[in-house]
Amino acid sequence: MALREASELEQRARRAYEWSRLRSGVGRSWPAIALSGISLSWCNDLELCLLCGLLLVASSVGLLWRGQAWGRASRPALLSGVAPALAPMLGQVLERVLPAVSCSTSCALVCIVGGVVGGGLFGYRAARFETEKLPYLVSGAVILTLAGSLGCLQMGTLGFTSMLGGFVLGGIPVVAIRSLARRGP
């Protein structure tokens, strides 16, 4: 087979490979689509939730397409992000049950708690990786923040920053403790 034909075949094979990775990324991003759909159903600010949802789905597809550590973080980060994404729903319930407590207080509180839970869960998974830790943490942080934003960004800047504070409070100690435990005495 001539060199040019072999080169064309290689290009076709590469295209087939990349397209199949993209299709697989879309298929495996169904949890991101589901979470975005759930948050849209009770969202106060539809435009904001739609934007967060689209960014979340696009990031999930992109990272899964990329693969390796970038893609491996997507599912655990998304699962960890369910807590802060749905936490504001709990805040709204609290507001009705305890009308004396203002939304700003309850919403910040649930976003902090949601962030701690999400950060802790993701940190627990992230500590397992010895190699390719940075891509895993970066892609995980992107997905976790976008997933959490589906809920906490609706609470405004306070909710969003409370969530981020929760991620740090929950995630860093867990990563540090697990990493030390794995290294041993």
Binding site: L9, E10, W65
Partner: protein, 170 residues
């Protein structure tokens, strides 16, 4: 293969360079002519890379790849066999008397049935039987006559068993 399934693009050129010659040799051995084998090898190669993302790292890569290539060879063989069959219309329109026409149709059906059964055998058996009956497709393998007779006997046994399974008659 595992690296490529994981998304390591650096594995792509290495895998391509290893797979392409191997698939060409495999399909050339399995099929009757160089043009068909080239088509089958290309289809198989594209399918392997399109399905690389589904590859399970727990299994061996080579049997997985060869199974895809064997499937492409089978598909191409069936397509080629269908093209080779003479349409019944041509027989009907040709000037024959009724008895001759019936015999021609029966012969066509028998030949089609024989080809279908032959294609269900493994490439090794097909090669052996074709070498025995001669013709443009035959090329006697370079083995001792006694070995070739034994191979032929086994190939015929498997052919008979496949015929019985398909048509219920010996």
């Amino acid at each position: 293969m595992t690296r490529l399934a994981d998304g390591d693009r650096a594995a792509f050129p290495l895998l391509f360079a290893a797979l392409w010659p191997m698939l060409r040799r495999f399909t050339l051995h399995a099929l009757e002519n160089a043009a068909d084998s080239e088509d089958a090898a290309q289809s198989a190669l594209l399918k392997v890379f399109a399905r690389a993302v589904e590859f399970d790292p727990g299994r061996a890569a080579l049997p997985w790849i060869l199974a895809i290539a064997a499937n492409e060879c089978r598909t191409l063989r069936k397509r080629t066999a269908r093209r080779r069959e003479e349409p019944i219309d041509a027989l009907v329109n040709a000037p024959h008397d009724k008895g001759e026409l019936e015999q021609l149709v029966l012969d066509c059906d028998l030949e089609r049935a024989a080809r279908e059964v032959l294609q269900e055998l493994c490439p090794h058996d097909i090669e052996t039987i074709l070498a025995a009956i001669g013709g443009e497709l035959s090329e006697r393998p370079d083995v001792a006559p006694a070995t070739f007779r034994k191979r032929l006997q086994r190939a015929y046994e498997r052919l008979r068993a496949t015929w019985r399974a398909r048509h219920g008659a010996s």
